[in-house]
Symmetry: C2
């Protein structure tokens, strides 16, 4: 996809283009941020840009490519995010990798629609490659083989993406109307009717301990809990990697 890199022959003959790919992608990202990925329809996007629907196809071959561009765009945001944090973090691989994971997480928080794209496939866009490079650099020179480095970043990226994905729905539920309160009471009434303490002993005990509470109302309380869960898991992941790193450095 040479569009991503902004290369390719530029025409001289015809009329000027009234838009730029950049503006289109910006508008698309804004639309997705505001109203979700489904809102990014060619007609709606064109309307937002005040052009005809089909005009967009002058800039972009199809919607799939547009989504690719959107993804590489938000990777770019992540890059600036990383350099902003990099000033403080110079503590070693752990803090570097942690910063990377947190930048990833911030991206998912800012752009929840990313998890809904049909798999952040290897787009090979400039920003994606830059992020990947930075991630590899974070675990470079600490005694791991190349394959291990690859596996480690897959691990971290997988974890962050997985939690983000798992959490997206909770956030999404919050955004639907249905007045939140009603939904939960209805739901839990349903659960009560069906929940069998004998079949689910551990869950029952944990519910009694209040582990599953705190979901109704209280938006930022919920957000806080999500963040806590994320941080907790991240520490475990990094601990696990630390075990490997220590092993490699003593065995050698």
């Amino acid at each position: 996809m040479e569009l991503l890199w902004g290369i390719g022959p530029k025409p001289t003959r015809g009329p000027k283009q009234g838009l730029t790919i950049e503006r289109i992608v910006d508008a698309a990202v804004a639309l997705a941020d505001a109203e979700g990925l489904d809102a990014v329809a060619m007609r709606r996007l064109a309307e937002a840009l005040e052009v005809g629907a089909m005009s967009l196809y002058t800039y972009v071959p199809g919607k799939a490519e547009l989504v690719d561009l959107m993804l590489d765009r938000v990777y770019g945001d992540q890059l600036t995010d990383m350099v902003a944090r990099s000033g403080a973090g110079d503590g070693g691989w752990r803090s570097r990798l942690e910063a990377r994971a947190r930048a990833d997480w911030a991206m998912y928080e800012r752009h929840p629609w990313v998890v809904r794209t049909a798999g952040p496939r290897p787009i090979l866009g400039p920003n994606e490659l830059a992020v990947q490079e930075a991630t590899y650099a974070a675990v470079d020179g600490i005694g791991l083989t190349g394959h291990e480095m690859g596996a480690v970043i897959t691990l971290v990226a997988g974890y962050v993406g997985g939690v983000a994905r798992g959490i997206a729905e909770v956030r999404a539920e919050g955004e639907t109307q249905t007045s939140e309160e009603d939904w939960w009471t209805e739901r839990s009434a349903m659960l009560d009717r069906v929940f069998d303490a004998d079949r689910f002993p551990v869950s029952t005990r944990l519910a009694a301990e209040g582990v599953f509470d705190g979901a109704p109302d209280a938006e930022d309380y919920l957000a806080n809990e999500i963040r806590t869960t994320f941080e907790f898991g991240l520490e475990r992941v990094l601990d696990g990697i630390a075990v490997l790193v220590a092993e490699r450095n003593t065995t050698t």
Copy 2:
């Protein structure tokens, strides 16, 4: 969603129903397995079941609910998978949790479309709850608080889901035609033109080491590598949890 639990008033007045929800969900899952989630369209599904398109709405209120049912269905498969493995594994929390993760992984391998559903939200279906119960039970009684148990399973589930999601595209690419070979040579030619060794030093070195090779052809080689990466990350995750468990058990 009382459909999931098979409760609710059953009518006596009208004609018999010619289908069952079970048959519909089975067909839908088969369709998704064979041709992907997009192939599960109400008309196509109805055609496969040899009924009119709108008849399905007698059984299911809408497509979203159908997808929920499909998800709880594959959770059910996972359950049988788990009891099959449980005979061997009785080594402690680690092997229990490992078995859970592997069952999850097997589900994603058997039903790649699961990662494409709009967030495996808390459906609260019977099978999902059973799986959750089993997962909680795996980490029960090892010295963790309720919240920690929750965070641990979020961690594991997030990791597995994340890697499955990250991997889905590679698998998907393999299934598209475009003759695989051409795609890669074209892609890498593109990359060569654009890849700047100065901007991406670490990636360049790793590429030279051959870390990124092995992607063309060789389907089961690739599958093997994916599995290796998954297993590797899983070990790290479990190591990280082990650190926590050890800490809790000595501090106490």
